[in-house]
């Protein structure tokens, strides 16, 4: 084998690509980044090395524009076992069980090829979860598409939902919730986020570390093909332009095989169960380069990779193609040599391909070796592993608030003319999303107590290997609100956490961990960086107030289409615990004769609301003030009321305000409601934080009010459930049957009206 000092021969980086653009730029590296690579290596990098740096230093893999801000998240709590920076965050949830949580985006691939983009998003997040030793037990999909009246957006929506369904159902992980949002800001650039929860016995927790000189790197799973080459740099780290150019990017999208993934999950978990692997690492963005560099860097080791050993789908693949391919369903296991036979036997049983492709060294360097040129083994790349993983550039990109911010803030939606037909405005907001989630297996593993369609999914907590029911439950919610964040990314982000906390509270759950997916526009726009920075602060302030640690996250930048950035869309996922889980928690339902109580204080402000957006008022005014202490108390008391079984139905109040909350409860249960003491449309549609509607049996009302009063929580009795109409006295009166029809049919009718492939 060649010495480390030798300059590997694999082309000259000065070669121009066919159109005359220097190679490093064609690969997405800047001139400064090239200089940095030269400094690190003390020489010119060759083609292969440049390709490896380009994928590892891509925005998607390195977080080079956002890391400086992400450091401000609160990440510590006594129950946190693994914080941000690993495959998944991990918390101790008691009874010897650890829960792994992770959220990812697959926005750009899904815009180009909706079915495979979404499908491989599911596959990728599952590998993140079982790479730490956890069995994936639930997935959630927060989805955002362009408006329903746009045929291409409908094509994307239908393809994404089919992809999630086709892959997730087959691989055998239930999809228990998420969100489905349609809005003009996502036209051409949908947001396809995916969250996964996994469980493991606490002692099985493993991390992707290559330790022990002489240990073997075993590649498990699919052969490597030309699919997804440069996906992280070509797709995920640039925006979209014209249709033709976008269509050309389609080969950068990977193709998923859920059956391969299912066998890979079972094989990897068996390896870990039997203690046959030192570390396991998923192959996601940047493929073998990322997996080998990360495991080596984190283990403080080096690795020699025999690129010829990598099984391939097609002949004549160059080393750079093999090293940067994002072919799906592959894992890297670090194995002690004397355990190799056992590992190979498990792989055979699960019909999973397993190949030794490398050896752990103490050189600290990632060296790629090939004998393909005929002669003996030759080193064709030789770089410090840490330089790929840890030493990516860190940018504090310029940020500035929008020039017209002060002017925009003075334009409150409260000054819009009062609506002439409040009932019609309310009906316009109703949309049953079951068309989406009824296509997902949401019941597998017999845990799903509250299915999608509620405020939070509720799952039984069973021990992942013994199956013993702990008698406790988990709740999960994902939330994001671009309309709020377009007005004020900081306060909007704070309100998003408040919504999540209330979503957990109404099912009786206490939050224990948060992950986030920061979906923003082009980081080279100072306004976008300002939005990102503000959002991080807004989320952090709320997390600190509620005592919730951030255990992981993902940043998706360059979400832009035809020059316009999307509205800032931080999406958060919260995990909560219900202790004990003795009965099905209340859902957003009304019960005939129940009293309706609004918990929390309504701030009279419509800016940032869905109603304001429906009137064309977006990104202007000021959001309703948030009193985090009051929200915290209101959430805690709501949780207490639910735990005491005093509540028949409950729904958080967020997008669409009190009006939509009550209407959704009514249509979902087939029971009408009569509300009084609502002054006007401002009170009805305000989206101020920290509120919920409770439906309470008449003989429990006194007890509920006593608890609310004892804790000083603002509340009001607003009416009662019953009848076949939704009535807000002096403001609106619509038939329940009509509302239910609108609610139920909006999505299937819209999608059914046809799609246009982009």
């Amino acid at each position: 084998m060649a010495a480390a000092e030798q300059t590997p021969r694999n082309g000259d980086a000065h070669d121009d690509s066919s159109d005359g653009e220097p190679v490093h730029r064609a690969l997405g590296l800047t001139d400064d980044e090239l200089d940095r690579i030269r400094d690190t290596l003390g020489r010119e990098p060759n083609h292969l090395e440049l390709a490896m740096y380009s994928v590892m230093w891509s925005e998607h893999c390195s977080y080079k524009s956002s890391r400086i801000h992400l450091r401000r998240f609160p990440t510590e709590a006594p129950w946190v076992l693994v914080g941000p920076g690993e495959g998944a965050g991990v918390v101790d949830v008691g009874d010897g069980i650890a829960a792994a949580l992770r959220i990812e985006s697959h926005n750009h691939p899904s815009a180009i090829e909706p079915y495979q983009g979404a499908a491989t998003g599911v596959g990728g997040i599952l590998r993140d979860i079982f790479s730490v030793g956890a069995r994936p037990v639930a997935v959630m999909d927060p989805l955002r598409f362009g408006p329903l009246d746009d045929a291409r957006s409908r094509w994307i929506a239908e393809g994404v939902v089919s992809g999630v369904s086709g892959y997730g159902n087959s691989v055998g992980v239930p999809n228990v919730g998420g969100e489905t949002v349609f809005d003009e800001t996502y036209q051409g650039n949908p947001l396809v986020n995916v969250l996964c929860l996994g469980l493991m016995p606490t002692e099985r927790l493993v991390l992707g570390r290559a330790e022990g000189v002489g240990n073997l790197a075993v590649l498990l799973g699919s052969s490597t093909g030309r699919d997804g080459i440069g996906g992280v740099s070509v797709l995920a780290s640039a925006g979209f332009g014209d249709d033709e150019a976008d269509a050309d990017k389609r080969p950068s999208v990977q193709v998923g095989d859920p059956f391969e993934e299912k066998r890979l999950i079972e094989a990897c978990l068996e390896l870990l169960d039997r203690d046959l692997a030192v570390g396991v690492q998923d192959l996601g963005g940047a493929g073998i380069t990322c997996a080998t560099a990360e495991t080596a860097a984190k283990g403080g080791a080096g690795m020699d990779v025999d690129v010829d050993a990598v099984p391939r789908r097609e002949p004549h693949m160059a080393p750079f193609e093999v090293m940067t391919s994002e072919s799906q369903e592959r894992m890297l296991a670090i194995v002690e040599p004397d355990k190799l036979d056992d590992v190979l036997a498990i792989a055979r049983r699960w019909e999973v391909q397993a190949t030794v492709i490398g050896t752990v060294t103490d050189s600290g360097r990632l060296r790629i070796v090939t004998a393909a040129d005929g002669g003996g083994p030759e080193v064709v790349a030789d770089v410090p592993a840490k330089s790929l993983e840890d030493e990516a550039p860190l940018y504090d990109r310029p940020r500035s608030e929008p020039a017209d911010l002060a002017v925009r803030r003075e334009d409150s939606a409260n000054s819009l003319p009062a609506p002439s037909d409040l009932g019609a405005d309310l009906l316009d907001m109703l949309c049953d999303t079951s068309w989406v989630w009824s296509q997902y297996d949401h019941m597998l593993f017999l845990n799903t107590v509250i299915a999608p369609g509620g405020d939070a999914a509720v799952l039984r907590l069973k021990h992942p290997t013994t199956g013993v029911d702990t008698g406790r439950g988990m709740a999960m919610t994902t939330d994001g609100n671009h309309l709020w964040c377009a007005v004020d990314p900081r306060l909007g982000s704070t309100m998003t956490i408040c919504e999540s906390v209330m979503n957990l509270a109404v099912v009786g759950a206490r939050p224990v961990a948060m992950v986030n997916c920061m979906n923003f526009g082009n980081p080279e726009h100072p306004e976008v960086m300002w939005q990102l920075s503000e959002s991080v602060d807004g989320l952090s302030e709320a997390l600190v107030a509620f005592g919730i640690p951030c255990i992981g996250g993902n940043v998706s930048l360059y979400n832009e289409s035809r020059g316009a950035d999307i509205d800032p869309t931080p999406v958060v996922g919260l995990l909560g615990l219900i202790e004990p889980l003795e009965r099905v928690p209340p859902r957003p339902r009304l019960v005939e004769g129940g009293a309706l109580i609004l918990v929390g204080d309504t701030v009279r402000e419509l800016s940032g609301s869905r109603w304001a957006a429906s009137q064309g008022h977006r990104g202007r005014g000021r959001l309703p003030e948030v009193d985090l202490d009051a929200v915290s108390v209101a959430a805690g008391v709501t949780r207490e009321l639910v735990a005491a079984d005093l509540v028949l139905g409950a729904h958080d109040v967020s997008g669409g305000g009190l009006g939509l909350a009550v209407a959704e409860m009514a249509v979902a249960s087939g029971v009408g409601a009569t509300i009084a003491r609502i002054a006007d449309h401002v009170d009805l549609f305000s989206e101020s934080a920290g509120r919920a509607v409770l439906c309470v049996a008449p003989d429990r009302v006194r007890a509920v009010l006593d608890v609310l009063e004892a804790h000083g929580v603002a509340h009001s009795r607003i009416g009662e459930a019953g009848g076949d109409r939704i009535v807000v006295k002096d403001l609106l009166d619509v038939g329940l049957a009509e509302a239910a029809d609108v609610w139920r049919n909006r999505l299937p009718d819209s999608i059914g009206s046809g799609t246009t492939q982009g």
């Binding site: 369904s165 086709g166 159902n169 087959s170 691989v171 055998g172 095989d257 859920p258 059956f259 391969e260 299912k262 066998r263 079972e266 049983r349 699960w350 019909e351 989630w437 009824s438 296509q439 997902y440 297996d441 949401h442 019941m443 597998l444 593993f445 017999l446 799903t448 107590v449 039984r460 199956g467 889980l581 009965r583 099905v584």
Partner: protein, 226 residues
């Protein structure tokens, strides 16, 4: 009482069936497809999922697995065999039940709770139920649209072999068929998942009467042969 729960690569409901059987006090274990015998088994359940990824056609590859001749022998001896969802598809592909399952009429995957009417109690899965009883049990499939020749349908009707019908047909199945049995009445296939309706917290316990019926059928046969 010992139930073998057959799993192929890609099967994913096997542990759910094991849990449902155990919750009724019987023993159950997963039997992987690469074995070629079933020893000391009182009943066989082929669990749902996506055996071999549903590639080619659901059940089309699984029917050739080493375990399938043993399942066929067990059925030929009168042993109770139930195929749930993908298991039903495997049984039709293996020729242990007539007909086939094609794509749902709406061309969408459907996961929801369905209402089923018990049409006969003379089967390995319904002995403890009542004719006309309506059960709330989840479905979870893309290819659950049962079809067969008119002659087969006439035979199934004449011989009282339609075990379960949908109250509100979700997938286009001929004659609203959700489950059928063989002429011996010991092999039953159904698209709905009784194991998913076995706990108060999961919204329905109506699946218990079916699993319990299977255990009784297995017990009765074991008592006779013992």
């Amino acid at each position: 009482m010992n139930v073998a729960v057959v799993a192929f690569p890609g099967t994913n409901c096997e542990m759910d069936v094991v849990e449902a059987v155990r919750s009724l006090g019987a023993e159950a274990q997963v039997v992987f497809h690469d074995g070629d015998h079933l020893d000391g088994v009182d009943a066989v359940v082929i669990a749902g999922g996506f055996a071999h990824g549903d590639y080619l056609r659901p059940g089309a590859i699984a029917r050739f697995s080493p375990i399938m001749p043993a399942v066929g022998d067990f059925a030929a001896e009168g042993g109770p065999v139930v195929g749930i969802c993908n298991g039903f598809q495997v049984l039709t592909e293996a020729g242990l039940l007539p007909g086939a399952l094609q794509k749902n009429a709406g061309l969408k995957f459907r996961c929801e709770t369905s209402e089923l009417r018990v049409e006969t109690t003379d089967s390995a899965l319904t002995g403890e139920a009542e004719v006309g009883q309506v059960l709330r049990i989840p479905i979870n499939h893309f290819e659950g649209n049962y079809t067969c020749s008119p002659e087969t349908l006439a035979e199934l009707r004449a011989e009282d072999r339609i075990v379960l019908r949908y109250v509100d047909n979700p997938n286009g199945s001929v004659d609203d068929i959700a489950g059928i049995c063989n002429a011996g009445r010991n092999v039953v296939g159904l698209m709905p998942h009784p194991e998913r309706a076995g706990h108060e917290l999961l919204g329905s316990t109506d699946g218990r009467v079916l699993i319990s019926s299977l255990l009784s059928a297995a017990g009765a046969r074991s008592a006779v042969s013992a």
